[in-house]
């Protein structure tokens, strides 16, 4: 039982060769581990250095490639570029009207040979330098284009970089080096600084510099925004006109923006109310209301997805009320944009059975205290908010008064309203402390207009306020304003109501 021979048979035995092999394996594994660790460190170091370097690393000889050199001056930009062999390429400078989805007309185009080159762009983009754009290839002057001192009258306040879009209209085999869109300077005099905001889908003046095949043509960009590749957060509608944009802070109200008027904040906010003959209503007080769903058609389940068609100048979108309660009204409203009516948006109850139970509907146009609406116009007649209060035309109800305008609307109603200020309200708010904190509209002063056909039997009214919102007993500086313009409309006829916003004359 205790035989030492049997015990020895369980003791592991190693030959010199197996020990050497084991040592070799451990050494090899350690060497591989260390080499791998070193490799990772060096890859990171190389990537960091490469990001700082202006060297061009070409991964595919058959494709255009570029690497921008570090900027060393405000008015120069340089790139190292690679031009593939076997195909003719041009360096093209396009100058003119431009936007994020528009290539400007080619101002100059020069052939560029296959191989590696250095391209430098000089930007003399000020009135002082007559908007001069100069391009050098390998240090030699290739393009020199001057647009003239008055190319952008009044100059520009900011410039934003344009990208080369990933959509069919843009060639994916081309390579953009630079693109810029200029926000025109809105000058309201010394000490009256105007802070302008918009997005790059607005048509402005600018340029693009890119490498491309010599004769490729680019179509004129669609005036609409809302196609598959367009960013939905910038709204749908006309790029330079009114766009519908949902607002999470105000989910019931319809909000419209117009960035071409130098602000991205809502220009119009409408709260609609719908009344059925059986007493059912839908308004911002309806608890079961969830959201407005944007669709391609009155009866559709999929989200809005416009198809780009250059021949199409009119696009529609449908707002379907998503209400939890089956008994509640679920109206569908159609919005219409027409490229020939760039300042307007059309609204109507969609011609669909979902709207059949609706007897009347109301459009409440809100935010008069943000715009300081103080003048209402019907053809030749103008009513000021102060006049409405002082003359007793507006029936008081606490700090608010209601002005019934039914008597003024005969036939097709056309009503205009605007502020009494000619200066942008952001300047007023900044320069006059009594306006501070009112959160006034940031864009250019506007005239609003609504056209309602007589067939809708419109009943118009307005609410006048004399106190600042959220601050009871604090009078509004400058007097009363029309806080809300209201239109009661019959629902039987499905005619269009047109809303217009345009800069004040």
């Amino acid at each position: 039982m205790n035989d030492p021979k049997i015990r020895r048979s369980f003791t592991p035995r190693f030959s010199i060769a197996s020990l050497l092999t084991l040592t070799l394996l451990i050494a090899l594994a350690t060497a591989c581990g260390l080499a791998y660790q070193k490799n990772r460190e060096m890859v990171q170091q190389r990537n960091e250095l490469q990001a700082l370097s202006s060297r061009l690393y070409v991964t595919d000889d058959n494709e255009l490639a570029s690497s921008e050199m570090p900027r060393v001056a405000d008015d120069f930009r340089s790139w190292n570029v690679h031009i593939p062999d076997g195909k003719e390429y041009h360096l093209r400078l396009g100058i003119g009207t431009v936007s994020e989805n528009e290539v400007p007309p080619t101002a100059a185009s020069v052939p560029i040979a296959a191989g590696k080159h250095r391209v430098t762009l000089y930007l003399g983009d000020s009135s002082d330098e007559a908007f001069r754009y100069t391009v050098y290839v390998d240090g030699n002057l290739a393009i020199d284009k001057t647009m003239g001192n008055d190319w952008i009258p009044g100059g520009w306040s900011s410039a934003s970089s344009l990208s080369w879009q990933r959509q069919a209209a843009f060639s994916q085999s081309a390579l953009q080096l630079a693109g810029r869109s200029y926000e025109p300077n809105a000058d309201f005099g010394k000490g009256r600084y105007f802070n302008s905001q918009s997005d790059d889908y607005v048509t402005r003046k600018g340029f693009r510099l890119w490498l491309d095949e010599p004769n490729r043509e680019y179509p004129t960009a669609s005036p609409f925004l809302g196609f598959a590749n367009d960013p939905s957060y910038l709204g749908i509608g006309l790029r330079d006109g009114l766009r519908y944009k949902s607002n999470s802070r105000s989910s019931y109200e319809w909000t419209f923006i117009r960035p071409s008027l130098h602000t991205n904040e809502p220009v119009l906010r409408i709260s609609a109310e719908f009344f059925a003959s059986d007493g059912t209503t839908l308004s911002n007080q309806t608890q079961s209301f969830q959201s407005w769903q944007l669709r391609n058609a009155a009866v559709a389940e999929d989200s809005l997805n416009w198809q780009a068609d250059p021949a199409q100048s009119v696009y529609s979108a449908f707002l379907q009320a998503d209400v939890e309660s089956e008994k509640a009204l679920q109206p569908v409203v159609e919005l219409k944009w027409n490229a020939d009516r760039p300042d307007e948006i059309g609204l109507r109850l969609a011609d669909t059975p979902a709207n059949d139970g609706i007897g009347t509907w109301r459009l409440r146009i809100l935010d008069g205290t943000k715009h300081l609406w103080r003048e209402l116009r019907f053809s030749e007649k103008t009513i000021s908010a102060n006049q409405a209060v002082d003359s007793g035309m507006a029936k008081p109800s606490g700090p608010r008064s209601t002005l019934n305008l039914e008597a003024f609307a005969t036939g097709d109603a056309r009503i205009r309203w605007q502020t009494d200020q000619t200066m942008p309200l952001q300047i007023l708010e900044r320069r006059h402390k009594e306006y501070a904190g009112l959160g006034l509209y940031k864009g250019l002063p506007l005239t609003f207009e609504l056209q309602v056909p007589a067939t809708l039997n419109p009943n118009l009214s307005a609410t006048v306020v004399t106190e600042a919102p959220d601050v009871p007993d604090d009078p509004l500086p400058g007097g009363a304003v029309f806080d809300e313009i209201r239109f009661d409309l019959e629902a039987e006829t499905r005619d269009w109501v047109w809303l217009r916003t345009q800069p004040m004359q």
């Binding site: 060096m42 250095l49 001056a73």
Partner: protein
């Protein structure tokens, strides 16, 4: 069993040798690429990842068609540690020989701090445009230009004093994150003028400076740039000059 173990051992040795061979070749190529890039950008080993590093690039890569339009250019390779939050300042007018006193036009800005460490280039150039000196900087995708109108010379002459906190001759330098970094200071010693600043007389000169300041020292920076001395502020929190040109 024995045969299987030998087979596995041979296979391990073979695969290990191939992997090691491939990694060695890859590492040699990487080393060569890194050497090329460091020849262009300068060598800057990061020994303490919590400090800010600068190295001056001796010969910035500037195309001749651009260089002919620029009076002077300086370029620095920078390492910013994770979370490093700083203000960029570019001012021209009257400055002092030391500190960051400044009187005149200026521009400043800042980016959101990054969670990860970043390697960047900081470029500064001086250009004569519309009969004025324009001072340009570019770092981390941001750039700006300020007119240094107080300089009335037609060109940057040898008499001007140019001071940097890091020079290509001395090699890279690292700084604590809480240090104010007057990266570049240029002044004309011939333009000395005594001024009453914050209750004391100070010699001021026509010039300009580029400063990186930790965001945490923003209020101290404001006081220092007005010539005041913040309570309890130690002068060694402003980086010293590396060398004169």
């Amino acid at each position: 069993m024995n045969l299987l173990a030998r087979l596995f051992t041979c296979l391990f040795l073979l695969v290990g040798s191939i992997v090691f061979f491939r990694l060695s070749i890859d590492n040699r190529d990487l080393r060569s690429r890194i050497d090329q890039l460091e020849a262009e950008l300068g060598r800057m080993p990061i020994n303490n990842e919590d400090r800010v590093y600068f190295a001056e690039i001796e010969s910035p890569n500037v195309p001749p068609e651009v260089a002919s339009n620029i009076e002077r250019i300086w370029q620095f390779r920078c390492y910013f540690p994770p979370g490093y939050d700083f203000i960029r300042f570019n001012g021209g007018g009257r400055i002092a020989k030391e500190g960051i006193y400044h009187s005149g036009g200026s521009s400043s800005g800042w980016n959101s701090p990054r969670q990860e460490a970043t390697h960047k280039l900081f470029t500064v150039s001086i250009q004569r445009k519309a009969n004025q000196w324009q001072a340009f900087y570019s770092v981390d995708g941001s750039s700006g230009t300020t007119s240094w109108s107080s300089f009335d010379a037609d060109h940057f002459d040898a008499a001007l004093v140019i001071e940097k906190i890091v020079s290509s001759k001395q090699g890279p330098r690292s700084f604590d994150q809480n240090t104010i970094l007057p990266l570049l200071r240029i002044y004309d010693p011939r333009s000395a003028e005594d001024k009453e600043v914050a209750g004391k007389t100070m010699a001021t000169y026509v010039g300009g400076l580029f400063v990186l300041c930790p965001k945490t020292l923003e209020s101290e920076f404001g006081q220092l740039s007005r010539g005041e001395t913040p309570t309890g502020f130690e002068s060694d929190r402003i980086a010293t000059v590396a060398s004169d040109e």
